[in-house]
């Protein structure tokens, strides 16, 4: 057995070579966004104005909120296939009851959040894949939405409409909202001490369990948060559209997943970034706008949406080139 004297000569040589790439990876989402914004400015300079940004980005707020909800779920290695339909249901509840019978409306919404928490508990306790449970919930929310609102209609409460149409000084409201959301969530999950536990339970649940933390609790908390942000997403969406539709938020499921990934998140391992997710969601929103401004032939407009996603993500590849991209755990 050797114990080595003179260890002081050992310099810290294996410095963290990964750091620069990590930083680069972190600012990638912002680069994608900048790319899209530059495209918009090129095709339609008028759009880059207080009024223009308001118009282009206000429908991004519900997407941002849904993306954050999805991000919470992805953090603990689960996936929520039901978030879009949940947003629809929340929208229906908001448009029907929140105005006429606020108490009932609030009770239902709180109940929904409770159901989300319950979903987290069931997934943990029965050890079932979240994809199936949320797939089931997708149908449940859709059915409830159709039952609540058999034909489109209802009306958003005035206060909701007013909030979503706030005219903030200098900086358009959607930007203010996005920054606030990003800051709050970043602080909550990336900076708080319990946030570390929550993320850790996605990275290595065993380690968190062995340190004496309740994994049931972390899962429930994350689903609860997802429920809360899902509700916020539904409310903000209805505040903008003023009226509901049983299918209104359906598309948010895929959009939110795409947003998280675009923002640098990964499906497993608790590696997520709230700021990235917000930027990712905004990028997706603006990508549609860019296409619109590009005047593509109607046949290829749908395809162009795919193309733009590819271009934005391919930029990631260029930077990640160095490493074995698909294999993330090393």
């Amino acid at each position: 057995m050797t114990s080595l004297a003179g260890a002081s000569t050992l310099r810290a040589v294996v410095a963290e070579v990964n750091t620069p790439r990590r930083i680069l990876r972190a600012i990638l989402p912002a680069l994608s966004l900048a790319l899209v914004v530059a495209g918009i400015a090129w095709f339609n300079p008028r759009a880059i104005s207080y009024f223009g940004i308001n118009l282009m980005l206000n429908l991004g707020i519900p997407v941002v909120l849904a993306t954050i909800a999805q991000m919470f779920v992805i953090t603990v290695n689960e996936l929520d296939l039901s978030i879009g339909n949940f947003v629809s249901f929340v929208g229906c509840v908001a448009a029907i009851w929140l105005r006429e019978n606020p108490v009932l409306g609030v009770v239902i919404l709180i109940g929904c959040i409770g159901l989300y928490a319950l979903m987290g508990a069931v997934i943990y306790l029965r050890n079932v894949p979240s994809i199936v449970v949320t797939l089931g919930m997708l149908f449940v929310w859709q059915g409830l939405a159709v039952l609540v609102l058999p034909r489109p209609g209802g009306k958003a409460p005035a206060w909701l409409h007013d909030i979503m149409n706030l005219r903030t000084p200098y900086v358009p409201f959607p930007i203010v909202a996005a920054v606030v959301i990003a800051a709050v969530v970043h602080f909550g999950i990336m900076q708080s001490s319990y946030g570390a536990i929550l993320r850790g339970s996605g990275g290595n649940p065993n380690a968190i369990g062995r340190a004496g933390w309740s994994l049931l609790r972390t899962k429930v908390v994350m689903f609860l948060l997802a429920g809360i942000f899902g509700v916020l997403s539904g409310l903000s969406l209805i505040g903008l559209t003023t009226s509901a539709d049983a299918n209104i938020g359906k598309g948010y499921t895929l959009l939110s997943i795409a947003g998280v990934i675009l923002g640098g998140g990964e499906f497993v391992g608790g590696r997520v970034s709230p700021i990235g997710a917000v930027i990712g969601a905004l990028t997706l929103t603006l990508a549609g706008t860019l296409l619109n401004f590009m005047r593509i032939s109607p046949d290829w407009q749908v395809g162009a949406e795919g193309a733009i996603l590819i271009i934005v993500l391919a930029a990631r590849a260029l930077i990640n080139r160095a490493g074995p991209g698909v294999l993330s755990h090393k």
């Binding site: 290695n77 296939l81 069931v122 029965r126 050890n127 079932v128 894949p129 994809i131 199936v132 449970v133 797939l135 089931g136 919930m137 997708l138 149908f139 449940v140 929310w141 859709q142 059915g143 409830l144 939405a145 159709v146 039952l147 058999p150 649940p205 895929l254 997943i257 795409a258 990934i261 675009l262 990964e266 499906f267 497993v268 046949d299 290829w300 407009q301 749908v302 395809g303 162009a304 949406e305 795919g306 193309a307 996603l309 590819i310 993500l313 391919a314 990631r316 590849a317 990640n320 080139r321 991209g325 698909v326 294999l327 755990h329 090393k330």
Partner: protein, 315 residues
């Protein structure tokens, strides 16, 4: 005996068969036994398509977290149009049409894989983007027109042997083949290994990229075949003919006992899950419940089955 039963119940796929049996019983209790056989043969016929897409999705999902083929519906839509257009209503061109659908599907698989490998785009986003592009190709190729299959092909997709659709028999044989492919070939083992740990698979000498590539091709090819068959069964191609198979294929895979975190797959369960979902629809349609109730019940039953089956052991 008792332990055999327990072993059986611990198999995740058993629950989907039990579920199928249960909803079928509920439906025939409602009709006092009327139409019991008809329900099964209709169920078998319809389950065929979800099972084919389910097999495709199963191989992809087994590759590990993040792997999923969202381009299946668009693939199916395009392939249905390609097949019908090439067949052009003529029985003599059936084989050519099927071949064209296969080629179209494989082409899509190649595209998907190139996006994933060359551009390092996460599969879920790559296939989603691809599906948008495929839709556009479909629109400009087929103009959304419904083209009819040749009579011989249409007949082939609906013909029954003693109440059992020929297509279902064929698909059972096909799925048996895929079970062998999965469990008894190097390719299948490679998929399972990569799904558990791609790095370890690489270090164990498995051709990781070749396997991944082949899997997306396989998924594309199955989508293409499914598109052609659907166009035959439903007597006409259409671009959205495959829309429902996105959720259906994923549902089938997970209800059928395949692990969504990869590395573990189950072919037997696909049929159970396929029959279960179709018969669930049959039951609810037989009850004549409204759309809202139908959705809610469908959702609750899916959750119920999976929760009753309980989870795989935590890793």
């Amino acid at each position: 005996m008792n332990s055999l039963l327990r072993r059986l119940l611990s198999q995740p796929w058993v629950w989907s068969y039990l579920g199928a049996l249960l909803v079928w019983l509920a439906a025939i209790v409602f009709t006092h036994g009327y139409g019991a056989g008809g329900m099964i043969s209709a169920g078998l016929a319809l389950a065929v398509f979800s099972v084919i897409t389910g097999v495709a999705q199963m191989f992809v999902i087994t590759l590990g977290p993040g792997n999923v083929d969202l381009s299946l519906p668009a693939n199916i839509g395009l392939a249905s149009a390609v097949a019908m257009k090439v067949m052009g209503g003529s029985d003599s061109l059936i084989a050519l049409g099927l071949g064209a659908a296969l080629v179209s599907g494989i082409g899509i698989g190649v595209g998907n894989y190139l996006l994933i490998w060359l551009l390092r785009i996460p599969p879920i986003i790559a296939t989603l983007s691809a599906s948008f592009i495929i839709q556009s190709i479909g629109i400009s190729y087929g103009r959304g027109l419904q083209i009819k299959p040749p009579p011989g092909f249409a007949e082939f997709t609906t013909v029954q042997l003693a109440g059992v659709p020929l297509l279902a028999i064929g698909t059972v044989v096909l799925t048996l083949g895929f079970a062998v492919l999965l469990h008894r070939t190097i390719y299948g083992r490679s998929v399972l290994a990569i799904g558990q740990n791609p790095r370890a698979a690489w270090l164990a000498g498995i051709a990781v990229e070749r396997t991944r590539c082949f899997t997306y091709l396989l998924s594309g090819a199955l989508g293409g075949i499914c598109g052609a068959l659907l166009a035959g069964y439903f007597r006409g191609s259409s671009l959205d003919i495959g829309d429902e198979y996105l959720l259906a294929s994923i549902a089938l895979v997970v209800i059928g006992g395949t692990s969504v975190s990869g590395g573990k797959a189950n072919v037997t369960g696909l049929w159970g899950a396929g029959l279960f979902l179709v018969l669930l629809l049959t039951m609810l349609n037989t009850f004549g419940v409204s759309a809202g109730i139908r959705y809610v019940v469908t959702g609750l039953v899916i959750i119920g089955v999976i929760v009753a089956a309980g989870g795989e052991k935590a890793r």
